[in-house]
Symmetry: C2
Subunit: 214 residues, 2 copies
């Protein structure tokens, strides 16, 4: 008989952005985010005071990584900018690229920046009490466009995995989210972004099948 | 190339318990819940005034039912009792019984009542800002133990399906949640509950394999 996993109740603390009864956690400090932002001079200038600061952290409940199960948790992200560009997470596509994800805004003002393998761009507001559905195959990154911490619940299939390289290999994401100078945001093009070639696009769509056949 | 599904942002309205941009919704009225409660005389007595009342409703975002995708939504449930027993949802096990679910309390005071195929019982509090993880193979039902509406976000794998009969066939769930007479709740045994025989238990664990082989 299958050994049963015990039900759990995990409390989300909106003040600290942590979740009780998590099975794990990780933190990203400012120094871990080198290369994400357009304004490298601004990044360097901030390093002296910001280098060890935890810019975002994740606490998660990960029962296992079996197909059909779920992983969920909470992300807490500081407000801030590098130059005029709002703080972002590294961003990823799922290794099993047909796996989706939901993000549920809890505190602060966030955006989900999405990019298809072919380079289509979408932006979804993730304010408190808004669920963002990230469909299969979309690269996605969170952006804190507010003056307060951004706290979001997330949930994704346990066998999804994360591929962070797909963004770096394209010179970043196609769009950047910057301060519009009036307390809001605007989307601009990233001049370093390179359109993926057909083989790369096909691999992003077909990766899970390649692994099954490997 | 795979046709991409569009990203979405769904706002949860805590006042109405509805979710914007839902792809569907359903309601359960009092008359739909006949047979769930121990006190049949109390149920009959309530029918005249309650029969058409929507006791709980669900609005959901269901992109598809493909393995690896996700369905999510919001449940809103009235407060109340039938006799001394708090209002409950019908409850289910997933047709693909190895599929889990998460419930995230948003408003009110809820419990998740869980039962394994062998009849183990668990109770998890689902207060606001608490995530309940329902692991694979657990039958589960929501209970509103508060004086206010219970609102919860839920998320489960898109290929889960629901089997509602497993509860009725056993004479209900093994435990009932009743008013303890002091504004709280207590768990009592349901005398009508019948232990499942070995073949029924095995079918609940192995159902998804039988369907694959069918």
């Amino acid at each position: 008989m299958t050994k049963l996993f015990e039900p759990a109740g995990c409390r989300v603390d909106l003040r600290t952005g942590a979740m009780s009864d998590a099975t794990g956690a990780y933190q990203k400090r400012f120094r871990d985010l080198a290369g994400l932002y357009a304004d490298e001079a601004a990044f360097s200038a901030m390093q002296e005071t910001w280098n060890d600061t935890v810019v975002y952290e994740v606490s998660e409940f990960r029962p296992n990584e079996r197909t059909g199960d779920l992983i969920f948790g909470v992300t807490r992200m500081l407000p801030g900018k590098v130059g005029e560009e709002y703080f972002v997470t590294r961003g990823h596509i799922h290794k099993q690229s047909d796996r989706p994800e939901i993000y549920y805004g809890q505190k602060g003002r966030g955006l989900m920046l999405l990019e298809s393998p072919e380079g289509e761009v979408r932006v979804v507001a993730v304010d408190a009490q808004t669920v963002c559905y990230v469909p299969p195959y979309w690269i996605h990154r969170s952006v804190n466009i507010g003056g307060d911490e951004l706290v979001m619940l997330f949930c994704y299939p346990a066998d999804s995995g994360q591929d962070y390289d797909c963004i770096a290999k394209a010179g970043g994401m196609r769009a950047r989210i910057i301060d519009d100078g009036r307390g809001g945001w605007k989307q601009i093009d990233n001049p370093n972004w390179r359109m993926r070639d057909a083989a790369t696009v096909a691999a992003l769509y077909g990766r899970e099948k390649k692994e099954e056949n490997a």
